[in-house]
Structure formats: structure tokens, C-alpha cells
């Protein structure tokens, strides 16, 4: 910390001045320490609950210790092997010995599960080999192992072991963008039946985009109405926006299930009114997802817009009119530009929140309406493949990060600062 300017410049510093200077410096230091202590809890909080999980997410998406933990020597040998043709007797002997020990210690299954990610069916092949490994009593191990299961003589399986040797891997991150690393290190497209992640990413963006479009179409006039109507009306309308905002996401989603189902209130009303003859299918399809998501996200657009619109004096529009502008021109050149910062903030909030939606599409959507979060949940809770779950989470995180420049572009020139 520099001493305040008045003391530092010009005057010769006598002993008294020096002690004053020191005192000031000490006070300054104390102040910045106090400031630091005040933000310390927040900093610690951010590190523990925000930066920490994101870093561990990154870590889990490349971490690959299983095979090397269970079969360290095999991993080592295979890592050094070039993968061009079947490995030698030493590799087979080591593998047999390590499967034998690991099978006894009940640790082999974890490694087998890891190998199964490379080739489906590898797990049960290792487990079966483990059960029968007693039959192998001595060399030559290569023939003995191939005798137990001929797939041990298949190069593809040894390359799969090489790919799993760890301790770090790019397979999850590559798989999350429909790519795979071949045994020789080159990167290519994943087999067509397994390329689903980019489709899910596209769908996630597509759904979010339409939700945002609907939110703007409904939210902009709504915010305008709230900002420009009389005090009592505007308060009432604001409560209408806020009330659902204060209700839990799950409750609102469940409420939409009740409303939208075939025997739900909306269909009953339409049938009763003779508007339709057959109940409309509003649930377990895209329509239902849009309706519920737009409703849930609308306040995030209306509130920032309202905050901006409230501060635009009504006299400006009147002034524009008195200067000869038609209503549309006045709106486009006077009103709209001033609301852009609020609109930008609202859009980015709605879009980013929409990208991460899980509960609403899961409960209201059909099987073809699920978004990326659905896959994350499936890997994290069902199959326990945390590497894949982390990799998809990173894909989602990066696509959100990629939106920041878009946001900057959107509000360039505006006075609003986001964060």
C-alpha cells in the first residue's frame, strides 16, 4: 500500500512525519485486512461450493485410476507396448497373475467395469476368466489364457486395456462430443449408434432458444404494462409475476402435470367449451415442456425489464411524438434502445437457466424431449459412471461460458453491467 499522496510528495520526512507515515500505513493495512476479513467468508464459501466442485468436475472427467490400481504391472507393460500386434508372453503372464490376485481380493470387478466402457462385454469376460483362472497352472500363459476365452487373442481387447491404463484419459471428454480416440492415438468419430451427445446438446439449445423467444414475446409487453400502468394495477401485476416465482420449482412443475394431463383442467375446459372434440395431448411432448418452462422462467425476464422500464420517463415518448415520430418509430428509436440492457440481462438469465433444466423436461417431457442434464443424472445416479457425468457437465458448462461474449455483444453500449 502506498502512503497517501500528500505525505509522500515534496516535504522532507522528519522523525515525526515518519512515525505519522508509519501510523497511517498501519491504519491502511488494518483497513485492508478488515476488508479482507469481511469478504473472507464469502471467498471461502465460493471456493468450497463453487470453484471446488467445478475443479473436481474437471478432475473426475479425466481421472482414470481404476485399472492401474487393480493391475498396476499389466497397466505398465501395456502402456509401453506399441499396440501393433499381440503382446508377448510377459504381458499374458502378468495379466494372469494380477487377475488371480485381484479376483481373490474382490477388486477385479472395478477394473473389469472400466474395461467394459471400452468394449461392452469385456466385464463379464474378465469375470469369467477370473472364475476359471485356477485352471491355469503354468506357462505358456498366452495359450492358456486364449484357451480360456479366445477373445484374449483378439488385438481389440488388448488395445482396450492399453486405452484404460490411465492414470488420466480423454475418453469421457471426447465421448461427450461424439468422438473417440483410436488405439494409435488418432481421434475419430464414435460409432453411429453411440453418437447421441451432440444431438442432446443441439436439442438443449433449441429448446432453450424457443423458451427464450416465447418469454420475450410474452414478457416484454407484460413488463411494459407493469411499468406504465397505475400504481395499484402495477403492484397487482407484479404480485402475479412474483407469486409463482416464490413457489418451488418442483411444486410448479407438478402443478403443470395436473393442469396439462388428458383429464386435466385445461382439457376439461376445452372439451366443456366445445373448443375441441378430443383432449389435446399437452403432456409428455414438447408443447408441455415449452409451456411449463416459459411459465417458470418468465419472471427472470420480466423483472430486469421492469427495473429498466420503470426509469424511462413517459414524457420521452410524448416528446418523440411531438417531434413528429410515429408510434412505431418512436418505440424503435427511443424506447427500445433504453430497455436493451434489461432485455439483455433477462435474456441471458432465461437462456442459461433453461440450458440446465432437468426436473421440468423429465416430468413433463416425453422421451424425445430430454435435455443434457437428463444424461448427467442418468450417468451419475444410475450407472455410477462419474467420468461420463462430469464430462457432459463440462460440455454444458463450456456452452454456458461461450455465451458470455454473446451477452457482451448484446448489451454493448448499454449502461447496464452484469456482475
Amino acid at each position: 500500500m502506498n502512503a497517501p499522496a500528500g505525505i509522500a510528495d515534496g516535504r522532507k520526512a522528519g522523525p515525526a512525519d515518519r512515525s505519522l507515515e508509519a501510523k497511517l500505513r498501519r491504519a491502511e493495512r488494518r483497513r485492508s485486512l478488515n476488508a479482507f476479513l469481511l469478504v473472507a467468508p464469502l471467498l471461502a464459501f465460493i471456493v468450497v461450493v463453487f470453484a471446488g466442485p467445478i475443479l473436481s468436475l474437471l478432475y473426475f472427467s479425466v481421472d482414470d485410476p481404476k485399472l492401474a490400481e487393480v493391475m498396476p504391472r499389466t497397466a505398465q507393460i501395456v502402456d509401453a507396448w506399441d499396440g501393433a500386434e499381440l503382446p508377448g508372453e510377459e504381458a499374458y503372464a502378468t495379466l494372469v497373475e494380477e487377475i488371480r490376485t485381484a479376483y481373490k481380493a474382490r477388486t477385479v470387478a472395478a477394473a473389469a467395469m472400466r474395461l467394459n466402457y471400452e468394449i461392452s462385454g469385456f466385464r463379464s469376460m474378465v469375470m469369467r476368466t477370473g472364475r476359471k483362472i485356477r485352471r491355469i497352472t503354468g506357462p505358456p500363459y498366452k495359450e492358456a489364457l486364449i484357451g480360456l476365452d479366445e477373445r484374449w487373442g483378439d488385438l481389440a481387447y488388448w488395445r482396450a486395456i492399453k486405452a484404460s491404463a490411465g492414470p488420466y484419459t480423454t475418453r469421457y471428454l471426447l465421448a461427450a462430443v461424439d468422438l473417440q480416440r483410436k488405439w494409435d492415438g488418432s481421434i475419430g468419430a464414435a460409432p453411429p449408434e453411440r453418437t447421441i451427445y451432440i444431438d442432446y446438446l443441439k436439442r438443449t439449445f433449441w429448446i432453450s432458444f424457443w423458451v427464450l423467444a416465447c418469454c420475450i414475446a410474452i414478457g416484454y409487453p407484460m413488463a411494459f404494462l407493469i411499468a406504465t400502468s397505475g400504481k395499484r394495477w402495477s403492484r397487482f401485476l407484479l404480485v402475479l409475476v412474483l407469486l409463482p416465482f416464490w413457489t418451488s420449482l418442483l411444486v410448479r412443475t407438478a402443478a403443470w402435470v395436473v393442469l396439462l394431463q388428458n383429464e386435466g383442467i385445461i382439457n376439461d375446459f376445452l372439451l366443456y367449451g366445445g373448443i375441441v372434440d378430443e383432449p389435446l395431448t399437452l403432456i409428455f411432448n414438447r408443447t408441455g415442456v415449452y409451456i411449463a418452462m416459459v411459465h417458470i422462467l418468465l419472471p427472470f425476464l420480466v423483472l430486469p425489464l421492469y427495473a429498466v422500464m420503470r426509469n424511462i420517463p413517459a414524457s420521452q415518448m410524448r416528446a418523440a411524438a411531438s417531434l413528429g415520430a410515429r408510434p412505431v418509430a418512436a418505440f424503435l428509436s427511443v424506447y427500445l434502445p433504453q430497455t436493451l440492457p434489461g432485455l439483455g440481462a433477462g435474456c441471458i438469465l432465461v437462456f442459461i437457466l433453461a440450458l440446465g433444466f432437468y426436473i421440468t423436461p423429465a416430468l413433463i417431457g416425453g422421451a424425445a424431449d430430454q435435455m443434457l442434464s437428463y444424461l448427467i443424472a442418468e450417468f451419475a445416479t444410475r450407472t455410477g459412471n462419474w467420468g461420463m457425468a462430469s464430462a457432459i457437465a463440462i460440455l454444458l458448462l463450456l456452452s454456458v461460458a461461450a455465451l458470455y461474449p454473446v451477452y457482451r455483444g448484446l448489451v454493448r453500449g448499454g449502461t447496464f453491467r452484469f456482475g
Partner: protein, 353 residues
């Protein structure tokens, strides 16, 4: 990469410290994890509370809703919140192989030969037989279906169909409807052509299918008329019958499996676990449990003790004549191996029009 690992260490230390603090109360009561809801209520009445009264062992309950995540977490953190858990066969086998469950000492349990052979495994004691069936609403349906193939007959039954989300069960159903004998289903599925054939058969009904995720949805949809036919857990259907809904089941081509109790490795109350599991294999209790929930007993004598009228809606005896045992070793091996690959393929397939 190494550097990331090093930088993360302090963070993990903090996280571990928090974990330790929150899990500090270690010496806990005997804890049973089951599947929640009215099902666990019934278990409490028939098994948990009587066991506690008889043995003087206090118990706590928790809910486990399937999947591997909880066990993965137990392995990674060393925190064991449960002593005994009810699991499906695929988790049972995986947990047994990976050392999550205790390899049972059967001398502390009921004599093996008194149980159904499929209920006796290395790490689990089968506690009930459950099944999925084709169900329909007898009040509204035009003509009652009789076979699994009828589920694919979209001329006679043009309405929507409910099926469970995901590839499991559906691929098996598709092959059986396509004429594969139950005994050959997994042999066929183990070939790429077999999987293609199953998906092709599913294509025929796909436009009509509404996929459910929770077991309770199937009877709800049938009762509300959202779907005309639905795959459903038989226990859910009999429960709906109790509520006055006229839902009926087709047993042809049913897929049945066994859920088992397992003791978790490293859990503090393992002896209580053994005593509890032995208690639940009592044939009389198992028979009385079928009154509350229509899942079959696993003790051979229990099957005989069930009221004959009730036995008609249980996955037992003649009802399983044309059924497929989804708890067989080949079924489990198939699904542990191919779950992920086929789920990816299924997720892709289901989103295509």
C-alpha cells in the same frame, strides 16, 4: 495433469473434513434401506416392527431407489449409512463382485434348500418375486388382450401404450413378441443382429408409446384413459384394484425377477442384519405380506401358504408358465455388460421419428 491433482488436494481435504463432521455420529441404530412408499409401509408392518419387538433391536429406515450411485459413494467415502438394503439382481451381482456386499455365511440364515433356488445367491437372500405384466382397463377396453403379441396388434388396439423408459425389459418384450422363446431371449440379444431385431420390433409400436419412469404412472394412466395398454408392475395393478379400479393383467410373456436383501460390507450392525434377514424368510410372514403387496414369496412353504384366490394375481405358479426370468445369470451378465451401450442407443433411437 499432475498439477491439477496437486492443487486439488487441499480442496479434497476440506471436503473430506466437512464429510467427516457431518458423518460423525457413527454408532447408529440398525438401518434398513428399502424402496419407500406404500411398499415400505407394508414391509414395516409385516417385517420391521415385529422383528424389532421380538429381538429388542431398534431400527432406522431409509429409502433406496435403485441405481449404483449410493454404493459408489459408499466405496469412495467409506461412509456406510445402511446395514441392510433391498436390491435388484443386477446391483446385487455387481455389488457382490466389487465387494460392496458381504459374502453371506448361510449357516446364520434359513437352510438354503427351503428357499426357491434362484433366491439363494452368494451375497443376497431373495425376499420376493416381482414381475412386469401387460395391463389394461377392463371398463373401457374394446376387447381384452390375451397374449404379449396383442400388445403389438395396433389394429385391434389402436390406442396409446405405456412402457418403461429405457432399453431393459423392452428389448426382451420385443423379441418375445417377435416369436423368440423366453429361454433364447438373451442368446439372441447377445448378437448384434438380435439387438437390431429387437429395436426393429419396437419401431412398430414406437409412435404409440408413452414412456413411464415411475411404477405408479402405469396404473394412473390406465385408469385415466391416457393409454389403452401398458406394461406395469403386477403389484401396482393389484393395488389399484384395491382402490376400486378395474385394471386387469395378462400374464403371457411376463418378465419376473427376485429382489434380495444384502448386507453392506463394513456396516456396523451385521449380526442384526443376519437376524433380520432370517426373520423375513419366515414362510408365514412372507405369505401374509402377499396380502398387502402382490409380490411372490421366496420361501418354498410360503408359496403354498398363500390364499388361492390371492395366488391368481401373484408372480408364482402357472402365471409364470410362459414368462421370462429376468434375474438369471445370463440376464444379469447381459445387462451389466450392455446397459450403457444400449442406453445410449436407446436414447438415440427414442428421439428419432
Amino acid at each position: 495433469m499432475k498439477a491439477i491433482g496437486r492443487n486439488l488436494k487441499p480442496l479434497f481435504a476440506v471436503a473430506a473434513a466437512l464429510g467427516v463432521l457431518s458423518g460423525a455420529a457413527e454408532a447408529r441404530d440398525f438401518t434398513i434401506a428399502s424402496w419407500g412408499g406404500t411398499y415400505q409401509d407394508a414391509q414395516r408392518d409385516v417385517y420391521f416392527t415385529p422383528f424389532s419387538e421380538e429381538s429388542g433391536i431398534a431400527f432406522l429406515e431409509d429409502v433406496y431407489l435403485g441405481g449404483w450411485a449410493q454404493f459408489q459413494a459408499m466405496q469412495d467415502t467409506g461412509q456406510i449409512p445402511w446395514d441392510v438394503v433391498q436390491v435388484e439382481t443386477s446391483e446385487l451381482v455387481r455389488g457382490c463382485e466389487e465387494g460392496v456386499f458381504v459374502q453371506l455365511d448361510w449357516s446364520k440364515l434359513v437352510p438354503r434348500e427351503q428357499m426357491l433356488p434362484d433366491a439363494v445367491t452368494e451375497c443376497g437372500v431373495g425376499m420376493l418375486v416381482w414381475s412386469v405384466v401387460i395391463a389394461y382397463n377392463a371398463d373401457t377396453i374394446s376387447k381384452a388382450p390375451a397374449t404379449l403379441a396383442d400388445f403389438w396388434d395396433t389394429k385391434t388396439w389402436p390406442g396409446k401404450r405405456g412402457m418403461r423408459k429405457g432399453p431393459k425389459l423392452n428389448l426382451e418384450y420385443a423379441l418375445m413378441a417377435d416369436g423368440v422363446a423366453p429361454a433364447d431371449v438373451y442368446k439372441v440379444l447377445n448378437t448384434p443382429e438380435g439387438v437390431d431385431r429387437a429395436f426393429a420390433k419396437l419401431d412398430e409400436v414406437k409412435p404409440l408409446v408413452q414412456w413411464w419412469e415411475a411404477g405408479a404412472q402405469a396404473p394412473e394412466w390406465l385408469a385415466a384413459g391416457d393409454v389403452e395398454l401398458s406394461v406395469a408392475y403386477n403389484g401396482r395393478i393389484t393395488n389399484a384394484q384395491k382402490d376400486g379400479k378395474n385394471l386387469q393383467m395378462v400374464w403371457d410373456g411376463t418378465i419376473y425377477a427376485i429382489d434380495s436383501w444384502a448386507i453392506i460390507e463394513g456396516a456396523p450392525n451385521q449380526d442384526a442384519g443376519y437376524a433380520f434377514i432370517k426373520f423375513t424368510t419366515d414362510p408365514g410372514r412372507q405369505a401374509s405380506f402377499t396380502k398387502a403387496y402382490a409380490y411372490g414369496p421366496t420361501h418354498k412353504d410360503g408359496v403354498a401358504m398363500v390364499d388361492p384366490e390371492r395366488a391368481k394375481s401373484l408372480p408364482a405358479g402357472d402365471n409364470l408358465a410362459t414368462g421370462l426370468f429376468g434375474g438369471s445369470q445370463e440376464s444379469i451378465n447381459f445387462w451389466v455388460d450392455y446397459q450403457e451401450e444400449l442406453t445410449e442407443r436407446w436414447n438415440r433411437w427414442v428421439a428419432q421419428n
